[in-house]
């Protein structure tokens, strides 16, 4: 009972070590596959067991001790981390199985699975972290493993660049998180979650004037990992990684880590007098809208999904930001959980399409008419699309409705209306990508002989379709509501949950449905028969601008990269001229010329030496006598 949850952290770690030393070095793919999938299923089993048992405990070992400061690692299972562990372990296990099919024959099979296990380990480390320090170093571990996986095909320059970009962009956020952690430690004297909760419960003002700064710094970490504006630029490029990795990054790990971190350490953000939540909400809303607009103009199958992830994460941030006043970030966690299921499903579906086309084609305008050839993939992708659009009774409708209702109840009319607009855009781009890819006319020869996904890839998709469809009826929000101490909505029966949004806030539910129908319908009308994007001509330059994500990449390239290069050359010049030139060579020259001067004295003639000797004695005598 007390030792079993350790397996959640130990199993992936053993898999990483085992794969690295047994499978990868000696090239034994079967061993690698067994280790990876075995550890993933074992982790899932333990997570399931912990969730069924409702384990509410913690286990820690002291890692290092310095004076009165103790760093411990361990696990903390409670109402929030139990379901999250299940989500992470579940998606990770399905992705591992799916990868067996997707990555078949890959040259770096072992490294890939070692990376996946490391990723799972890092994410579970964040989810289960009983203190901020463990969360922080697992946070860094997530960054590292994402770097390894995004750059998996590192012989492609774009993939190597994307990995580097993801890592460096995340470092910016990580630095903020580190500063936030240190600030919390300085002002509260502890990093332990339970202790922090106690201190803040006893004295809500304990953070004092640093409350806003600490909150914003921690949020900065989440901005990096969860790809919020302005650090979102790494995520679309991260599509260079293998598609199952994208599924993992976009659903259960990495981007979810940011939102989860904010929910987990919500007490720090919600301290009285802190403006952090307001900043979180507006950043989230802006990101949600901007990414939705960009997603409407993308032509790459995976890139649409990437921008949609950024947009949905924006919604979650909005929900976190609106969760003050003792509400708790229930809606954010709700959307995070359902989004994990349907976004993973979307990526696995996209991966099935790419795999069927032999990893050659990702441009949706070269696809089309795949529904007949890949019915299972189409069904799964379609369900996930509808869920993301927010069509009831699929899971996404309920979680998104929770966020919209939250904005409405908080009387943030502006935010509410903008979120509705974003919702319409979501429906638009998702229906667009699904129709163009799977319906409509075939737009190239490549799709003619596309086979259905093999079983090892099909089954994970079918399993993910279950929470995608039913996630809204399981009472996930009620469970999270109990964690944050707010009464669960709905009466607890499936029927009550089914009609929940319509009873609770019929106006919001109606508006959300209308927005979805509006956006989805427009996309359906425009793209059902289209062979090229009809909006390209009508939008003109504006469309190109959106396609290139408002040229933010170019701006960063121009400003940040150039500034970095300039600083680099300045440092190089300083090193070359001041340090090496002036200080080192100058000093060297000084000593050398002094030596050359003094060397003149050493003629080797005994008599000259004698002369100096006599002169020295005379001088010394004279000085001694003069002293008297």
């Amino acid at each position: 009972m007390e030792t079993l949850p350790w397996l959640l952290l130990v199993l992936p770690l053993l898999a990483v070590g085992g794969i690295t030393w047994c499978g990868w070095r000696r090239q034994r793919p079967a061993v690698v596959a067994r280790l990876a999938v075995g550890s993933a299923l074992g982790t899932l089993l333990v997570a399931w067991w912990a969730w069924r048992q409702g384990i509410d405990a913690r286990g820690e070992i002291v890692w290092l001790q310095a004076g009165g400061f103790t760093v411990s690692v361990g696990w903390l299972l409670d109402g929030l981390s139990r379901p999250m562990t299940l989500v992470v372990a579940g998606v990770a296990a399905l992705v591992q199985v799916y990868s067996l099919g997707y990555m078949r024959g890959d040259a770096w099979w072992g490294r890939y699975f070692a990376g996946l296990c490391l990723f799972t380990l890092a994410m579970l480390g964040i989810v289960l972290a009983p203190n901020l320090l463990q969360a922080y170093f697992c946070w860094e571990l997530v960054g590292l493993s994402s770097y390894l996986l995004i750059g998996h095909w590192h012989e492609r320059v774009t993939a190597a660049d994307a990995a580097k970009k993801a890592f460096l962009t995340n470092r910016v956020g990580d630095l903020g998180l580190l500063a936030g952690v240190l600030l919390v430690w300085q002002s509260l004297g502890t990093l332990d979650l339970a202790r922090i909760r106690e201190i803040l419960a006893a004295n809500p003002e304990a953070l004092g004037s640093t409350a806003t700064v600490a909150g914003v710094l921690i949020f900065l970490g989440a901005v990096g990992k969860s790809a919020q504006f302005p650090l979102h630029v790494w995520l679309p490029d991260a599509m260079e990684g293998p598609t199952p990795v994208s599924a993992l990054i976009h659903a259960a790990t990495m981007v979810a880590a940011g939102v989860y971190l904010l929910c987990r350490w919500f007490v720090l953000l919600a301290a009285p007098g802190s403006a952090a939540l307001e900043i979180v909400a507006w950043t989230g809303l802006f990101t949600a809208l901007m990414a939705a607009v960009v997603a409407c103009r993308q032509d790459d199958l995976k890139r649409v999904l990437a921008w949609s992830t950024i947009s949905q994460l924006g919604y979650m941030m909005l929900a976190v930001g609106l969760a003050g006043d003792g509400r708790g970030p229930v809606a954010a966690m709700y959307h995070l959980s359902t989004h994990a299921a349907f976004k993973a499903l979307l990526f696995l579906g996209a991966g099935a399409v790419i795999h069927a086309l032999h990893h050659q084609e990702q441009n949706i305008w070269k696809l089309g008419a795949l529904a007949r050839r890949m019915p299972v993939t189409f069904a799964c992708f379609g369900l996930a699309t509808l869920a993301l659009c927010g069509v009831p009774p699929l899971s996404g409708a309920y979680s998104k409705d929770a966020i919209l209702a939250l904005a409405h109840e908080e009387h943030r009319t502006g935010m509410y209306l903008l979120a509705l607009v974003g919702s319409a855009l979501t429906a638009f781009y998702m229906v667009r990508v699904a129709t163009v890819t799977f319906l409509g006319p075939a737009k190239s020869q490549a799709v003619d002989c596309a086979p259905e996904a093999p079983g090892v890839m099909r089954w994970p998709m079918l399993l993910l379709a279950v929470p995608t469809v039913l996630g809204g009826l399981w009472g996930i929000d009620e469970a999270y509501g109990r964690v944050f101490g707010v009464a669960g909505e709905g009466g607890g029966s499936v029927w009550a949950r089914f009609v929940g949004p319509w009873v609770h806030a019929p106006g919001v539910a109606l508006a959300a449905l209308a927005a979805t129908l509006l956006g989805g319908g427009a996309a359906w009308l425009w793209y059902r028969k289209a062979v090229s994007d009809p909006l390209d001509e009508s939008l003109g330059a504006l469309g190109g601008w959106c396609r290139e994500a408002f040229r933010l990449d170019a701006l960063y390239e121009g400003v940040l990269v150039r500034a970095h290069d300039l600083a680099g050359s300045a440092c190089a010049a300083a090193d070359r001229w001041v340090l090496a030139g002036f200080l080192i060579r100058g000093l060297h020259g000084l000593v050398a010329s002094a030596g050359r001067l003094v060397r003149r004295v050493q003629t080797g003639n005994v008599q000259i030496h004698a002369l100096f000797f006599v002169a020295g004695v005379v001088l010394w005598l004279w000085l001694m006598l003069a002293w008297e």
Partner: protein, 101 residues
């Protein structure tokens, strides 16, 4: 005019300076060596003069020691010069500049 201590000391000083000049200016090693001896004997003269002035024999005893040690030193020095001459075939100081840096 009676001869006093200062006269002896003056002669001693002049002898010493002559010795120094010899060491610095003469080019032949043997001449150098003789000049060194002159310097030693200048010191001996001063010692003897001081002994006489003080009215005891301490200075004179010291002079005997100096003469004895100087004899040994001359033996060693001359042996070195002979060895040097065998090696370099010269006793001219200007040719013996191997101590140059």
């Amino acid at each position: 005019m009676s001869v006093g201590l200062e006269h002896y000391l003056a002669v001693s000083g002049i002898l010493f300076c002559l010795g120094v000049l010899g060491v610095i200016l003469r080019r032949n090693l043997l001449n150098l060596y003789m000049s060194l001896e002159v310097m030693l004997n200048a010191a001996n003269l001063a010692l003897v003069a001081f002994a006489r002035y003080n009215g005891d024999l301490n200075g004179q005893v010291l002079v005997f020691f100096v003469i004895t040690v100087a004899a040994a030193e001359v033996a060693v020095g001359l042996a070195l010069i002979v060895a040097l001459y065998r090696k370099c075939r010269t006793t001219w100081v200007d040719d013996l500049a191997t101590m140059k840096h």
